[in-house]
């Protein structure tokens, strides 16, 4: 079976004034299947939002992308022109669940009016707002409210309902839980999981490890523009745990674990060190780390423990 989304060697560079070059995304490869949730985790500034923009064809003009991102085995999202993306891809084949839903909704229009327009645009149908709202558990008696009259959770559901209208097989959620209370994080995550179980593929970009643990099937850890670990979620968060030292450090920083930060800060993407980008912060770095470790499909580290067969 061909994966729904097949990303191979995706690289994004930004050309900045003064000849500087920002290596936002480097050689990223992963697959995503129907009914699967992949959580892409990493610190802010690690390139994960740029990756999302690349998949939506929304890179700014000074970006250069190479590699490919095949949707459904055919269309290359990095090479498709804007008209194709606008008319056949966004909303129809890739649905976006935005980071700040209240900013994503037009303040002077009701939720019903948002849904009505999106329905007409994507399906050509009139009516059906109640059904569309129900799919994201948005209460029908709130349809005539304006965005500022909604709580954070309801605004999130309204935005999700809009993302689901076109019945896109691939959902892309960009930090869907930022700034939400933990209770709301869990509810939002569970709702997204429900859509995965209904057959959607979900790529969730987040720095919220709790949300990732709650719903992801697999986890991709991004550091300085590269994927450094790609693992099964249960093994990653449970036993035997992550294999890349950065991923271990990230989990150890959680208040429910040892609450100790990884020393230092990630390197700037316009001044990446030669070799492993994490070496300067890594407890187990050696001379071998002067060379960039190859990503073997699960981990990119010279010192990763062998994958145990637990």
């Amino acid at each position: 079976m061909t994966p729904l989304l097949d990303v191979r060697g995706l690289t994004v560079r930004f050309r900045m004034p003064g000849g500087r070059e920002v290596a936002a995304v480097t050689d990223v490869s992963f697959e995503l299947r129907e009914g699967e949730c992949l959580a892409l985790i990493g610190e802010s500034g690690c390139g994960k939002s740029v990756l999302a923009s690349a998949l939506l064809g929304l890179l700014p003009g000074n970006a250069v992308a190479s590699g490919r991102a095949l949707l459904g085995g055919g269309l290359d999202l990095t090479a498709a022109d804007e008209r194709v993306l606008a008319r056949t891809v966004r909303g129809r084949r890739v649905g976006l669940v935005p980071q700040s839903p209240s900013a994503h909704l037009t303040p002077v229009r009701t939720v019903r009016s948002h849904l009505r327009e999106t329905l007409r645009e994507l399906t050509g149908r009139r009516g059906g707002e109640e059904a569309a709202a129900a799919r994201a558990s948005f209460p029908a008696d709130h349809l005539d409210r304006y965005p500022h009259q909604l709580s954070g959770g309801l605004a999130q559901r309204a935005a999700t309902a809009l993302a689901l209208v076109g019945d896109a097989p691939l959902l892309l959620a960009d930090e869907p839980t930022t700034g939400l209370d933990r209770e709301l994080v869990e509810r939002t995550a569970d709702e997204l999981r429900r859509h995965v179980d209904a057959g959607h593929a979900l790529l969730m970009i987040t720095h919220d490890l709790a949300a990732a643990e709650r719903i992801a099937d697999r986890v991709a850890v991004m550091y300085a523009g590269r994927i450094v670990e790609l693992a099964d979620a249960a093994r990653f968060f449970g036993s035997p745990g992550p294999r890349h030292p950065y991923a271990r450090g990230l989990l150890d920083a959680l208040p429910e674990r040892s609450f100790t930060p990884i020393p230092g800060m990630p390197p700037e993407l316009d001044a990446l060190p030669p070799g492993c980008a994490f070496a300067a912060r890594c407890p187990s770095a050696t001379d071998a780390c002067a060379a960039v470790p190859a990503f073997d499909g699960t981990v990119a580290c010279h010192h990763a423990p062998e994958a145990s067969r637990a």
């Binding site: 900045m16 936002a24 939002s49 740029v50 700014p60 000074n62």
Partner: protein, 272 residues
């Protein structure tokens, strides 16, 4: 946006250069009367033709442009300084000071624009400075409103809270954090005001209340040509008219490009 910006900038440069350089490079007398050659249509000797007392219209247009630009720029600057000061006073102090100041602004704007302008001009002997004062007095209100509204919204930003906790005085918060944030907008308002001020001067001169009749000003020239237009002599009206319209459009185009640059919704080049 690039083309519009370049075209507007080029036009503004041409206009300003013309006004600055031409009268110096060709020091001819724009007041020279030649009754033998009155109301001549455009020709090689007089590219814009001559007026009803035989003065060269090209020469007078260039001098008129100089006067109009001077009045426009100085008046817009004065209005912006006054408007920014008043708006800052209201916005930075807030509370009752804000209410009192803004009611005064309302009072001022309830008096018809031109009437107030005419009143100011009428108090002095005709000349450039009364006209500048008249334009400034009637144009600072909108800037004051813009500056005040911006300040009121900026005042609620967490960075102002942080500055207060950091021991900053009201003066320091205003001068260091608030004013620099509104100055680009006030500057934009000033640029947009220049054409408006040119029009205002022209209108006053057209009504015969602006500059003394012999001073070459675009408005007074258009006014003087009123009678001849009906007689079929179009050039004394057309050329001063063009000289009012072209700089206006050029400055407005420049301001438009500037406004686009200020727009915070403009997509940033790099969003990591």
């Amino acid at each position: 946006m690039g083309d519009r910006l370049r075209l507007s900038a080029a036009l503004v440069a041409v206009v300003v250069l013309t006004a600055l350089v031409a009268p110096v490079a060709w020091p001819l007398d724009e007041q020279a009367v030649d009754l033998a050659a009155k109301l001549r249509p455009p020709s090689w000797a007089h590219p814009f033709g001559t007026d009803e007392v035989g003065r060269d219209l090209l020469l007078r247009c260039v001098h008129g442009l100089r006067v109009s630009l001077l009045v426009g720029v100085v008046a817009a600057l004065a209005a912006t300084v006054v408007g920014t000061a008043v708006g800052t006073l209201a916005g930075a102090l807030g509370g009752w000071a804000d209410r009192v100041v803004m009611r005064l602004v309302d009072l001022f704007s309830s008096v018809p624009h031109l009437l107030l302008g005419i009143f100011v001009v009428a108090m002095f002997r005709p000349g450039v400075w009364p006209v500048v004062a008249s334009v400034a007095v009637t144009h600072w209100l909108s800037t004051a409103r813009i500056v005040r509204a911006e300040l009121l919204s900026l005042r609620t930003r967490p960075y102002v809270d942080a500055a207060i906790s950091g021991g900053a005085s009201r003066w320091r918060v205003t001068v260091r954090h608030l004013l620099p944030a509104v100055l680009p907008r006030a500057g934009l308002a000033a640029v947009l005001m220049v054409p408006h001020a040119i029009w205002h001067e022209s209108a006053l001169s057209f009504l015969g209340l602006g500059l003394p009749a012999h001073t070459a000003s675009l408005g007074s020239m258009a006014q003087a040509a009123r009678g001849t237009l009906l007689a079929g002599q179009w050039w004394p009206t057309l050329f001063p008219g063009l000289f009012i319209i072209v700089p206006t459009l050029a400055v407005a185009g420049l301001a438009g490009a500037w406004r686009e640059r200020l727009d915070p919704r403009r997509r940033s080049e790099l969003a990591l």
